[in-house]
């Protein structure tokens, strides 16, 4: 077991945000945490990454209790997480300060290539589109070779076409690098497209309502019967009729 949530609860003042979350994530697994806004899913990710301390319960990674952020487990924010004063290269190499220069160069080059930003090495974030910035941030996270990635609605600020492209990019990278991924989203379609398992949370206080395994091989056909059935199942779970 890679990541184990054990009875994790959280409150901010009098507001109960998370209530006894239990979840096991295996090595190399892609898990989406899905829930309505305000259900505490981002909080859960912040606890898992060590930025927040839970009010009760604990999170263990490889059997070791999480007590703070760690560079083996990188948090990917929305695109605004990259440093505007550093170039694409500078951002991707940000976490590689303890490597010898030659290895640093090689790693940067590898990840620039992986996320498709060749030719933009010297560009500053303000010269990049939203999708490109997000790629830089994913590359920055991958460059330090972490074993877990936490992604907090990483594509939330992108337009819908770019968002679709970024999802397939992320899947391609995940298949190449086999990191354990915890991905927070409020987008049902997104979760069914990406995850091995979708963890559906209730509204506040967040509890695990259901865990839905997505048993469709990649690449997923978004018009297949199975995809639509799983999607509608989750729609139903959240209490939304799939009609407008």
């Amino acid at each position: 077991m890679k990541v184990r949530f054990h009875d994790v609860s959280m409150r901010f003042g009098d507001v109960e945000v998370l209530d006894a979350i239990n979840l096991d994530v295996s090595e190399g697994e892609f898990v989406c945490i899905l829930g309505p806004s305000g259900c505490g899913k981002s909080t859960l990710l912040n606890i898992a990454s060590g930025f927040l301390e839970p009010a009760a319960g604990e999170i263990a990674i490889d059997g070791v209790r999480v007590v703070g952020p760690d560079r083996r487990r990188i948090f990917v924010f929305q695109e605004r997480g990259i440093f505007p004063w550093l170039t694409v290269e500078g951002n991707i190499g940000f976490g590689l300060f303890d490597l010898p220069e030659s290895e640093r160069r090689a790693r940067i080059a590898h990840y620039v290539q992986l996320v498709g930003l060749r030719g933009f090495e010297r560009a500053y974030p303000r010269e990049l589109s939203g999708g490109m910035k997000q790629r830089v941030e994913v590359a920055r996270a991958l460059a330090v070779n972490p074993d877990v990635l936490y992604l907090d609605e990483p594509f939330g600020a992108l337009d819908s076409i770019t968002r679709l492209q970024m999802r397939s990019e992320l899947l391609r990278i995940w298949q190449a690098e086999r990191k354990t991924i915890l991905f927070v989203t409020h987008d049902i379609e997104e979760s069914v497209q990406l995850a091995d398992r979708v963890v559906v949370l209730t509204a506040r206080p967040g509890r695990v309502r259901r865990v839905v395994p997505i048993d469709i091989a990649h690449p997923r056909d978004l018009s297949s019967v199975r995809y639509l059935a799983l999607r509608d199942e989750i729609f139903g779970e959240i209490g939304l009729a799939h009609k407008i």
């Binding site: 930025f51 952020p69 560079r71 605004r80």
Partner: protein, 278 residues
């Protein structure tokens, strides 16, 4: 094809017969207009003030109000006696060292207080208490501690710049996007790198704005600072010209020079700001 036709038509419209030989040519007119907008218009306020000043001076006794020409002659006199450069350099020297001293202490103080909530809670009330005290109030203390002379003058400029610079730095630190600090924490950056790679570049743009404003303040205080019995500088010139013979033309010459150099400083800092920001 149709489009091309349209374009050609509109081109023809612009070159209606006769317009080519209109005088003055359109290009020259536009050029003059642009020139007037970027140079003449900004200068017009000054020209009006000079005219009003000249009229006022002509209708009042010269002992009460020296006119612009007299002041111009006074500046010429200063230049001829070799005092113009000497005084300007002396004033800039004091402001530079007083200000650099303030920068050296204020930026680390501002960063420390901005980073630590406890530090801020402990020291912010003190800073707010010191803020309304005019730098001029420090003159007796400056003389007591440093005697009369250059050091006192520089201390006064230091005092005037230190607080606003510290507060500007603190504000810049507060305005750092917390996501950037979290990311740096996540990558376990050692403190030295954290300072160099994240903190300083993050506060730099706001810090430069703070620098521009406080340079103005430091220059503003130079007159008061040079009242402390120094024997050179533009502030000294103003006090000395009055004390030694009521040379009000020299007094106003000093004021004009302070204004001109203040504008130059502002432009200079803006240039540096743009250079670094780009």
């Amino acid at each position: 094809m149709e489009r091309e036709g349209e374009e050609r038509e509109s081109e023809n419209e612009q070159q209606e017969p006769g317009s080519r030989h209109r005088f003055p040519p359109k290009g020259l007119l536009l050029c003059a207009l642009a020139l007037s907008r970027s140079y003449l218009l900004p200068l017009s306020g000054i020209v009006v003030a000079l005219l009003v000043w000249q009229v006022a001076a002509a209708t009042h006794p010269a002992s009460l109000l020296p006119g612009p020409l007299a002041v111009g002659r006074a500046i010429g006199e200063l230049a001829a006696r070799g005092l113009l450069v000497k005084y300007v350099v002396a004033s800039l020297f004091r402001v530079t060292w007083g200000y650099l001293g303030a920068l050296l202490f204020a930026v680390p103080t501002g960063i420390a207080l901005g980073m630590s909530r406890r530090g801020e809670m402990a020291f912010n009330p003190l800073l707010q208490l010191l803020r309304p005290i005019s730098p001029l109030a420090w003159i007796p203390i400056a003389i007591l501690w440093f005697g009369v002379g250059d050091v006192s003058a520089m201390f006064l400029i230091f005092v005037a710049s230190f607080l606003p610079l510290t507060l500007a730095t603190m504000k810049a630190v507060h305005d750092i996007d917390p996501v950037h600090l979290s990311a740096a924490r996540n990558f376990a950056l050692p403190p030295g790198l954290m300072m160099r790679e994240v903190l300083l570049p993050a506060i730099l743009p706001q810090l430069l704005v703070g620098v521009r404003i406080t340079v103005g303040i430091a220059w503003l205080v130079v007159v008061a600072a040079e009242m402390i019995a120094v024997n050179s500088g533009l502030g000294f010139l103003i006090i000395d010209a009055r004390n030694a013979g009521n040379r009000y033309d020299l007094v106003i010459a000093g004021m004009v020079l302070i204004g001109l150099i203040g504008v130059c400083l502002d432009v200079l800092v803006r240039r540096v700001e743009q250079r670094i920001a780009a």
